[in-house]
Symmetry: D2
Subunit: 378 residues, 4 copies
């Protein structure tokens, strides 16, 4: 497979290429490869003059976008139309030199679009492949719209909720991983929290779907693609798990109640008259944090678990500290910590009043410093 | 045409849309619109939820790339495969809000590829169009690979000469124009100079093709598209003409002779034994500069003409000053000046040992300051 | 007093100038004025061509340094030799224009030098004085060497503990106050903590001396100067109290025991065998934090109290959060919060392995953003 | 002399210390040492716990200022009162470690103040001295107020012409020299030019005084100090001479005539009615530039001579290029070039509408890159 022949373009199914490196949680299936989460990617080292990749994209509402990196530099970023298409990754290059190529999913898994999926079937090239080395470390990021890179792209005035404004590449996750030399995965969803989504929907919580490959996806097609399979944690154990959740849990306190249409049950995180969090509801949030840390530990026995918070305000930070404290005291597990991220300012904000590129860069700088400390101390 | 109807996507030929704004030299033809030069663009204000653009691209060797800007922010950058394709510019947006859209040619006109062209035929949208305002000023940039943005994209180690590494958007031309609030056009070609190209080919000179729409293109198809038509200078008079040429003329002194295969004539800008420029050949360069300034003045009677130089070394600067001096003394035309650009350093270099993004930003900052002075003084 | 006469320099005792503004805790005495803490200053608006200030400085070990600011820009920084000296602040300036002048103590109060003091007796000028306006807000900073600006000045390799490396001007306290438009005061001491100093000396705690004007000074002379008087909190109530303590309390866990020579008693914050904090000793630290917040509240009934931490590591942050939580729960006082400061890195470090200028700037940027939020929310 | 004894402070006249390094043109006299130009300095390596320096300062109008650098970091900056004073450079430091110390004259030679001088007589220390190594290169800077660092210190609103706003340390000369690892000297005077001063005084030209140690000083005292002695060029030959003159020559075109009170002769660089330079007067300027380059070459036979210009506008740049061209053509000496400096902007301006710290930093960055090219090419 790594023999080099430059004469003619040959199609090869992904499943027949031994030296692919897949980033992000998948089912392991390569025929075709389905990428679920933002930042998920297919990476390869290829000695060739030309390379095409066959992608398949579908959606009811929200189309997929990808970025192409050549030798670690973003070169192309594009919307994928529905259907199966050959994408030219590069052409006209020196056939003797090896290129590192990465096609990255720029958009989060779409819990609200049962028809949304992104797949890669095959490559077409005149060359051959070489192995891709692993980075020294592995990080898993778990989060919400911030971690999905919502608002990194686009003018500050943009208000539409569309995939175009998301980025997996210009994202603190990618930058932090690069800074500490880590492979990384992302599990994230806009609007979701630890206990509920920003609008009090109790199903909009990350912990419930954490153990599946991509449990928040809906629809028969995604189920058939294996999104609901149990994730194989044994195959990829991170050195660090970064959880960036809480922002939407705070939102729930400030949003109207959510009613379950089937049961009629109403859900609402309450504020007291003086504007402070209602103790019972705050306790429910803290309990959810404590439990989620426990689940993360079960799935990732040796990882440093770091709960990060603060890019869009700090109001739940004391509760997060308490909840993590409770976890540590009840388990004796001291490999868990809390780290405050820098707040987004009028200079660093992006589209849709979300953190912009500068905010992600600042977060990556501070977070990578903190993670470097964890990794060197262990 | 500017009435708004959001129900269904309707195809409209470009020629039927009254409110388009076209950037860059064209023949005026809209059925279809051919974009020749880097930085050329079609711009429109559209009130719609969705917009597609039908592009047609062809090439023998060098494919075209475009960037899409939404509300002045780059959102997508992609290679265009050969053929006629519908490109989705945006979808799923608020149908009531007006978006400013710009599709920009990222790659220079390709003198070496007679089959290379880029066209736009039609739009498909559920909305209507509004007028695009002109900027207060107009600038024309004339240059070589630096002005073509060669090397702005890509890793520093890249050596292949391919369109992927060019950018019209992340380019000092675009940044300078933005900083001084100007519409702008670019006339540029990698390897070309005032007197000859870097390899002493006397046909690789910009002055000879300056008066045509895009006179350096070859092939019957480009001729049929009107590339060789006389440019209608009267229709678009710049306030400032920036000429960034000389770097390849210096290269000619350090490159082997070029032989015209039909006439057998040899061309060579000579160095003396001590490494200095041969006086006769330097004089030929200066004469070419002086004449080109005269031609620029003929075509642009009221513009400030600024010869800029220095992003890749300063060796011909004294000759440029002399040549411009000669022009001024012989004509009394004092609306011509010379401005040194900041040199590219190991920190600011990009791909293919060309100025990188940081070099273009630094140049734009200094050049826009200088141009602001010209514009406020006039 | 504010009449202007430029003919001759006239000496005026400070006590006779009605329009002085004194920064920092003092006894109120102006004949002479004693400045105790770093960042303390005498500020005045003067319409004159020349101004001198009579300073008196004494020390057994550690000399005083001052900076002079003219119209808010540092112009001079100098060591004060022992004795009584006239310092020329400015000369040769336009006698008709008003200058804002500030002489700032650059060095902390020196608990280890009973002979150290800094006083101002009189001015000599050809002009007159005008009132100095108050800023819209007031902040009090309480801290250790970080807050004393230790290491802001000097090469990274410097290791000597000398006053030259301290600065009250190039200090996050001054920068933060400037950014939020606040007058400010500093109470700080290198090596000290909430419970004890870095070397386990229980007397090296800030809470015990907080209520006095400058209770950590020793010696008969300082006592005679009123350092041990009760501070008049009513005369200057801050909008925000920032406490930056804990770094030396962590140091105590990693330092040998301290023995009280008179009583023979030994003091030691203990680590457990696994390197974690001993629970009892950590509880003692937390109790000290909780109590100190209570004392701060008593002295500053309406202030936002913000405990900040993290410029030299985060290890005690969970304990600080717990301790503040305990305070809030037991009192219902919700006007207290915790804010993490950015860690110092190899790029931002200064002399003596303390935060350098860049670290103070970064802290000021983040802390001022946080404080702005507090002030706008109240 | 380099033996180390830390017990008691000993006074040593400068003339008895073998290992001093003197920066800037002097007469060679060390008993005492007179520093004439800005950036002039006395540098020493001392192994001691304490060091004092005996300075003597005098003036009729403009006092001297010095900066003290310890291990290459500015630690103190102060006005020197008239008279002879001991200045404490450092105290309380580790007696075993060697400190590099530099006392730098912050203010230019004062042509307008016959009474102005700065001297150093002796040191007082408990330690001994070690040799100071030379840097690999040497640069001489020749210029006007820009090169004197006028306006680097102070608020933008400052308008008084006083020594406080000058700096030799925060100056592009010092920064450029540091960046290219060069020892350096400065010859500069506010208001002066190549042909005349800004107000058309023909005596305000640098070329006439260039060959003396400090020929622009006046008064018997300065003459007695040797200011008018012929400079010993043989003792210190620069690798590069940077001339930053022309800004005041442009000013002369825009200022009223100057009348010589003794001869009654009037001097005026004229503008034509259309605002352009009068040809005869421009020719006089160019002739002065050409001649000065010749004088610089005579004095510095092997140096790269670089005429730099542009920090406060570019209007005379074509004339400078012509004049240097004339020199090169008439002599064949090609080791002379012209380099444009970045213009000062509203962001980079300092006090007195002169370049501020940011402007000096930007100039140093670009100029040091250019000089590095010269030095590596030779």
């Amino acid at each position: 497979m790594s023999s080099v022949s430059h004469r003619q373009l040959q199609v090869q199914p992904l499943a027949e290429i031994g030296q692919l490196k897949i980033h992000g949680r998948t089912t392991g299936e390569l025929a075709p490869l389905t990428l679920f989460w933002t930042g998920s990617a297919v990476e390869l080292n290829v000695r060739a003059s030309e390379l095409w990749m066959e992608a398949e994209s579908g959606y009811d509402h929200h189309e997929s976008w990808i970025s192409i990196l050549i030798n670690n530099v973003p070169v192309s970023r594009q919307m994928l139309n529905a259907g199966r298409h050959w994408i030219c990754v590069f052409r006209g290059m020196n056939p003797e030199r090896v290129k590192n190529i990465r096609l990255v999913k720029e958009v989060q898994a779409m819990s609200g679009d049962p028809g949304c999926y992104l797949q890669f079937h095959a490559v077409r090239t005149d060359g051959g492949f070489l192995p891709v080395e692993d980075k020294p470390y592995r990080i898993e990021f778990v989060g919400d719209s911030i971690t999905s890179g919502e608002g990194v792209i686009g003018a500050k005035a943009e208000e539409d909720w569309i995939p175009a404004w998301f980025s997996g590449v210009h994202n603190y996750t990618a930058m932090t991983a690069e800074a500490v030399q880590a492979d990384y995965r992302v599990v994230s969803q806009s609007g979701w929290g630890v206990l509920s989504s920003w609008d009090n929907n109790p199903q909009g919580n990350i912990p419930d779907i954490y153990e599946q490959v991509c449990g928040l996806l809906t629809g028969h097609h995604n189920e058939a693609l294996g999104a609901h399979q149990k994730n194989d944690f044994g195959s990829w154990q991170p050195d660090v798990v970064v959880v960036n959740l809480g922002t939407n849990d705070d939102g729930a306190f400030h949003s109207p109640e959510w009613q379950d249409e089937t049961t009629g049950q109403r859900y609402k995180q309450r504020l007291k008259e003086d504007g402070s969090y209602h103790e019972e509801d705050l306790a429910a949030f803290e309990s959810a944090v404590t439990k989620f840390v426990g689940k993360l530990r079960t799935c990732n026995p040796d990882a440093h678990i770091v709960w990060v918070y603060g890019m869009l305000g700090l109001s739940l930070m004391p509760a997060i500290y308490r909840a993590v404290d409770t976890y540590i005291k009840s388990t004796g597990d001291r490999n868990v910590s809390v780290f405050q991220l820098p707040d987004t300012t009028s200079e660093t904000i992006g589209a849709r009043t979300h953190p912009g590129l500068l905010a992600h860069q600042q977060t990556a700088q501070e977070l990578s410093g903190y993670i470097r400390g964890l990794l060197s101390g262990s």
